[in-house]
């Protein structure tokens, strides 16, 4: 079932012949960061790597400050999802020799500020020169109690929670790539801050957790396949979508759920809490000034449903995920294809 998703099966195929470590706690795809037991200690090393390649090549990220910021954040967000204490980051910068001094300065400032915002130090890196800019990084964290949060473990009845409003990542992408679209603003602010501190708190409460780096539906789809459960988003969309996501889809006369469906996420966490721990979790969150959004629940039947005009709407999230590898740059065609993935509605 995991391998119905083209990306999953591709990763599976790449990894098939490669040696695994007996120190590794997680299986392939089972957590946002890799979890490595440290011999002779009670700690687990969390390590992850992520690059900004398509985002630059497609024009999704153009501002050097944002590129630097996101190079750190995409990795910090993986540490957040497993609840690791952040340690540091290694940078892989591939710079065009023609990059201006100002461009490089802004790039480094984005990296610096994102590191400060997430408690990551820069441990080292590697700089190369090539015709096109590419940025990558690897981030390291420690889970001192050896109890990281993984993508595995939710049960029917658990509540489904978002660390913050959803949909801003896709709203940003829609504006950035669909500039010809009439009645859209010329840009929307996008500078997500990985939920590192919230993730550490979640170690005590969450039954599973994953970040929304590839969009909320992709996250739910992956959790569904890994846990063999389903997710019903019971809250109304306007209760948990980012105001900008509602504005942008409104201005474009498109359904707001599209901002959950696209492949550019908002780097929030989606997680589940067993009912008996819900009270304590909400109380702890409120004492640190965090307002997580309860958006639905875990159900037995695999699938993802959201609520629209008092109806439960089934989404073919698998089709959505495979779509984003197929449609090639034409955003109108992509949105048209997305609209076809809502297949049936059931009255509540």
């Amino acid at each position: 079932m995991l391998n119905d998703i083209l990306e999953n099966s591709f990763i599976q195929r790449l990894a098939a012949s490669l040696p695994r470590s007996p120190l590794q706690q997680n299986g392939l795809q089972e957590s946002d960061a890799e979890l490595i037991r440290l011999p002779g200690t009670s700690s687990v090393l969390a390590i992850t790597t992520d690059s900004i390649v398509e985002e630059i090549e497609s024009g999704l990220y153009e501002d050097p400050y944002l590129i630097g910021w996101m190079t750190v954040m995409v990795n910090a967000s993986d540490l957040a999802a497993v609840g690791a204490d952040p340690v540091g980051i290694l940078l892989n910068e591939t710079l065009p020799p023609a990059a201006s001094e100002d461009f490089l300065v802004r790039l480094q400032e984005g990296i610096r500020d994102a590191c400060s915002a997430t408690g990551l130090a820069v441990l080292g890196g590697d700089t190369n020169f090539a015709s096109r800019l590419q940025m990558g990084a690897s981030a390291v964290g420690i889970v001192p109690d050896a109890r990281p949060t993984t993508r595995i473990g939710c049960q029917p009845g658990d509540i489904l929670v978002a660390s913050g409003p959803l949909g801003l990542g896709n709203a940003y992408a829609f504006v950035q790539l669909g500039r010809a679209w009439r009645s859209l603003p010329s840009s929307v602010p996008f500078m997500p801050k990985a939920r590192v501190w919230e993730g550490r708190l979640l170690r005590e409460f969450a039954s599973c957790c994953m970040d929304t780096s590839d969009g909320a539906f992709a996250t739910l789809d992956q959790l569904m396949r890994l846990n063999n459960t389903g997710f019903v988003l019971e809250s109304k969309l306007e209760e948990f979508l980012h105001p900008v996501a509602l504005d942008i889809t409104g201005a474009a006369a498109l359904p707001p759920w599209l901002t959950l469906a696209g492949p550019h996420g908002e780097f929030e966490l989606l997680f589940t809490i067993p009912p008996e721990r819900t009270g304590a979790f909400m109380e702890t969150a409120s004492t640190v000034g965090w307002t997580p959004l309860v958006i639905g629940k875990v159900v037995e039947e695999p699938g993802v449903w959201f609520t629209q005009e008092e109806k439960k709407v089934y989404v073919d999230t698998g089709r959505i995920r495979n779509l984003s590898l197929h449609t090639d740059g034409d955003i109108h065609d992509y949105i048209h294809q997305l609209l076809l993935t809502v297949e049936k509605t059931v009255s509540i």
Copy 2:
């Protein structure tokens, strides 16, 4: 003095504003891998990242198996230099969508075999698609006794040792990029194996260590600047140059020392041993079947000298290192410039 080298000053400038970690043992440039104290343990985490970008773009590496192999080895070699026990690697693959199935299979086989050869597991990774192939990785190791080897610590009088014959990397590059050169073979075998096991053994003996990933002279130059010492290569070149390096330079009627000067290394280790530990080191090495090559000694006066026809030849290694960033693709011009870096000879 470190910043007389353009690459060093560029890295210094990139890193200047970035936050450092109080857990990090090494300063900028002071070790091949970053060394991070693990709180509550007596272990040090060694972590490094390195990419294969220019090597692919310039045509230096074409064979997908070699590209996969080197993606692992460039990182494994950094772990070797600090003496870490290998744990695993994270891969960053940027693949062209048009890459053939056979190309991908060979790439993964190169990765797999290099991991097996060095004791590294594949912990995870990130795959992107873009117009040009780029490969990167981050490798993780553990130094259990918290006594990693760094680039710092050699003293005048220490012996200078190479883990194996030198010059194959540049001989390979010369053949690969200088194909129009008359009388050269069409290719030379190049498949370096990082000295991971030897590096672990060196923790007990070496006063400093660095791999030769950028060529032997670049390594000595960096060690010279970091330690404020000099190096005299007292052995004759034919005693420690790789036979292929001697053959290729012979066929091209070029001086063999050029294979120490070029920027494409052979991924050996260059290290120093205090005189009082030399006997024990050589004995230990021989019991494991390893034959390190004593090639010279550490001297007080900063500089690098090699021996040619009974003469001590001074090499301007700083000029060599800055050269490789300046000459742009023309190998004849590059070699001409290299030949000008031998400035004076002193009879022994």
